[in-house]
Subunit: 141 residues, 2 copies
């Protein structure tokens, strides 16, 4: 529960409240380190906070996303997964074995600048997942 303080402050600064539900969900995301589906978040957070509902989990994940504490990732499974918002990164996933690796955001910096100057948009966010064949799975082709 020691991870709570900074999150509480961030929320309060924006006029929102820290609640046992948000705390439990943040705790799960913070200590898991992995990508979790809403259902996985629900199951794990329920242990810490019995009575938590799935509705609240969905709402909270969206809320945390909007406030920069969580990040959704569309990994091609057709369903969103979530992770705690630490360093900004993207994903590269093997379409055969499912192996995932992170893509540093600075690899996209040049592209970002190029896009901004071409389009006139100011980029603030992106959903980026690359899919391919990992070195192992390329051998079996």
């Amino acid at each position: 529960m020691s991870c709570a303080q900074p999150y509480a402050l961030q929320l309060r600064a924006r006029g929102y409240r820290m609640t046992p539900q948000r705390l439990a969900i943040l705790h799960v995301l913070h200590h898991s380190g992995k990508h979790l589906s809403p259902s996985e978040v629900y199951q794990q957070a329920c242990v810490e906070l019995p009575g938590l509902t799935e509705t609240t989990v969905y709402r909270t994940l969206e809320f945390l996303t909007e406030n920069g504490l969580a990040r959704p990732a569309y990994m091609g499974s057709g369903h969103l997964v979530y992770e705690i918002a630490g360093h900004e990164h993207h994903h590269l996933k093997c379409r055969i074995c499912g192996h995932e690796m992170e893509v540093r955001h600075d690899l996209l910096k040049t592209l970002y600048r190029q896009l901004e100057s071409e389009s006139g948009y100011r980029l603030t966010d992106s959903h980026v997942t690359f899919i391919g064949l990992c070195p192992d799975c390329q051998k079996g082709e």
Copy 2:
């Protein structure tokens, strides 16, 4: 219905069948040109083919995706939308007004090569959506 021939051939070459359901759905995607949700596809295709079911629409959109005739896009709404698979492109969307524009795939070519050499993966696909503020919406900031 004149758009059907090439699609039918592509499917048959892979051992699959062309059906009135697939034809109606392809027809909708082909002539819409826009991104459509499964529900929009269902409603429009139903006009051409009464009796079509939503189950079939979901299954067909996934089938067409796997076979390269349709492409899903995750536009940040939390729901997938689909479009006919023409030229390869990505998307840039304004988080305020929702305005969308296309991003040419060749802008990502350099990044693709860099990623492949860094990771050892062979890239085959990607889900890429950029989000930001369009020129108009930047003024109101």
